[in-house]
Symmetry: C2
Subunit: 440 residues, 2 copies
């Protein structure tokens, strides 16, 4: 564990120190956190030569090690990415403080007032891919939400990550933020040790392959937020509009095939198949997409490949789509709830009632009408940024921005009340909402 | 697994059927769920002779098996408990529907509107002690929040639980609720099998001893909500009011010692000790409470027993309290964050600034000023009922009522939008909040 400011310590000890700082973080004002974000933004702008130089080392090593073109593209940290990071921080500063928000205020009795108030989660460990801009986003989101972050980035980005960490950590300290607000760890051994620190770490957010996320879930008793799969569906209903359907399906499949929100399976209403499939196949085929169809699909599109049963649970992350013809909306919903990954699923229809049925009954973080599944993203939802996408149903679901990085506590302000008086009937509760609970 | 309506099936098959019903539950209207609660209330009132007869069998067996007096008291289901259950259901009916609530509505672009909307979690397994009234509360809370509940009650209450289950399940079906809304399981083997049903069960809520809750957490990959310990503290600050302090400490310790929200440790500011401890000791001693003190405490109260270091992490659930003198509020906060269980902790002070500091920095579900820790309870918070208390920080914290039994999904209403147009700059996001996010 390092970041060049902590040496000769083991991970558990450092995590315990960070935990102690996390209690202090809960009392840092929103204006101080925003001021720190401003200083961080300035430090990144001022330190760009150091960042770019470090990034060049990583890129050179990556080329030498035969890193693929898409991975090199993610690893690259240039002026454009720096601008995006700085814009992202400015966006975060402009968002309201997620802390100290009163979810409700209730007078239980005279002089006995209950408040449900937002507060930070505490210490969050984020393990992410070799994308240096992700380090900046995650650090900024955690700081804005009052959490301490322990970051482990991909090893290919080690020099860039160190340069970014130094600038961000230094600027945060200068603004008076407790030093434990940000820690960089670099080795797999440190990560492994981190998984055992359940007394100090409140939440783990692993990003990466399914296998990696499952490995983390199976090897730690710390709560994990993340997604294990992204098997997203599009269902073209009987009353679909061809002008919408073809661009949406094409975009959801091809706009970025490696993304978890790319569509993997198309379900088509039997009465819609003959009209939709031939022009769709032509469009997909011209973009190099392989169509793997059920027998009914093959009868309409003989040029398609036959789908095996495995195809309908596959996350291809590639230019392949499986196609199945279904008898109606309920069969589509059942298929999605059974084979999907509860990530993002879309219905294409002009029938408002069918749309509502689909959106109520499909058990996914995102249920869409007439638009691409690729919209499932924190930036596109207006969250400023995201730390990841959750396909779990507890705490946070879908893209996780600031709202997913806070929890709450109950504050009860009394003036000497004891429970014995209420148990004996001497006093009774009044339950008067001063500020009613509006949502969940 | 039974409830006399499902025979010759294994747990995994039944859980899968319940999962399928849970998707339908997500579309049952609030008025239908309330109507079902009314029918359940009527069925319980009308079926009371059958319930009392079944309860007599359990009580007789309990006496024969030498069950202790407190356990027999919890097992007893009489007219008073029935009235409480019926009042509880009436209270739940009067609460607003927790489902279909819009947390925010945001126009991302013209004709592209994002809604964050509450929905049920799905299938919830609750394992609880031999308290038949808990079955009624939990079933009612899960129904009101649109969840399917799989209940496993203590085996001593088997006859009462069956009688209650028959009435509740029958009344729910009569109101048109999908049959999977409630299932009763009875054997340990079924419970064990349930822990492996991670494809069908969304959440487990175990209630009972620490060991039991830990056993569940360690033997299932299903998310678990619960509390592992209840080591609650009271800190008497320098500026404490004796008239408040003594009744509060006495109530928090003695009003119901077996409760998780009973106080186990008292921390006292050094400057407050000489004034507080002698009269407090007298009061506690007269109620049969053993005081185990640190050396400084013993110097003031020589009649107290010496505390070992283990005492400050102990959940006694008995007429024992540990007492430690501290140098000030920050030492108290550090002690609580280190030795406490993040359940409920109280400061007694007349100093508003000290109170705010304590309530911000103590990392617990409940942070109290000048009132008994025993208030940490769903009924006393005005939730109508609770399924349990969570000391975890994710999803739900503290007493868990309706708000802790729902999650949300993102609904995105489009009219043909594709991500490619936004990536290329042909279109750009507008982010206009139609209904802003108010809380977390």
């Amino acid at each position: 564990m390092s970041g060049d400011f902590q040496k000769n310590c083991n991970v558990a000890e450092i995590a315990a120190e960070i935990k102690a700082d996390s209690f202090l973080m809960a009392s840092v004002s929103g204006s101080m956190r925003d001021e720190a974000l401003r200083k961080i933004s300035d430090a990144l702008a001022g330190g760009k030569e150091a960042i770019f130089a470090a990034n060049k080392e990583d890129i050179d090593a990556g080329i030498q090690n035969g890193l693929s073109e898409p991975l090199l593209k993610r690893l690259k940290f240039d002026q454009q990415k720096l601008n995006d990071c700085i814009d992202g921080i400015a966006g975060l500063i402009s968002l309201p403080d997620p802390l100290f928000q009163k979810i409700f205020v209730r007078e239980l009795d005279e002089g006995l007032t209950l408040e449900k108030v937002t507060c930070p989660i505490g210490v969050i460990g984020v393990i992410f891919e070799s994308r240096p801009d992700a380090l900046v986003q995650i650090a900024a989101l955690c700081l804005k939400s009052g959490n301490c972050a322990i970051l482990k980035g991909g090893s290919e980005a080690i020099n860039t990550n160190r340069a970014l960490f130094r600038l961000i950590h230094g600027a945060g300290l200068e603004a008076g933020i407790p030093k434990g607000f940000l820690t960089l760890i670099e080795t797999r051994a440190d990560t492994q040790e981190l998984l055992g620190c359940h007394d100090s770490i409140d939440l783990l957010i692993p990003r990466g392959s399914n296998e990696f996320v499952r490995h983390i879930m199976n090897n730690s008793s710390i709560p994990v937020m993340g997604h294990s799969d992204g098997v997203c569906h599009i269902y073209a209903d009987k009353a679909f509009d061809l002008e919408k359907a073809i661009p949406i399906i094409h975009d959801a499949k091809t706009q970025y095939v490696a993304a978890c929100n790319a569509a993997e399976t198309l379900l088509v209403h039997r009465d819609a198949a003959a009209r939709l499939l031939p022009p769709l196949f032509e469009r997909l085929d011209s973009s190099g997409v392989t169509v793997r169809g059920c027998p009914e699909t093959l009868a309409i599109i003989p040029a398609a490949a036959p789908a095996s049963s495995d195809d309908f649970a596959a996350e291809y992350l590639d230019f392949i789509i499986s196609v199945k013809i279904v008898g109606g909306i309920d069969e589509a919903i059942s298929h999605i709830n059974r084979f999907g990954s509860h990530h993002t699923d879309c219905i294409i229809t002009e029938d408002a009632e069918a749309a509502e049925r689909f959106m109520l009954l499909v058990d996914s973080a995102g249920v869409y009408l007439n638009c691409s599944t690729r919209f499932a993203d924190g930036f596109r939802y207006g969250f400023g940024a995201e730390v990841g996408i959750s396909t779990g149903k507890l705490h946070a679901r879908g893209p996780v921005g600031l709202a997913g990085l806070v929890t709450y506590k109950f504050k009860l302000y009394g003036s000497g009340q004891i429970v014995g008086d209420y148990a004996s009937g001497k006093r009774s509760f009044k339950f008067r909402d001063i500020q009613p609970e509006r949502h969940i």
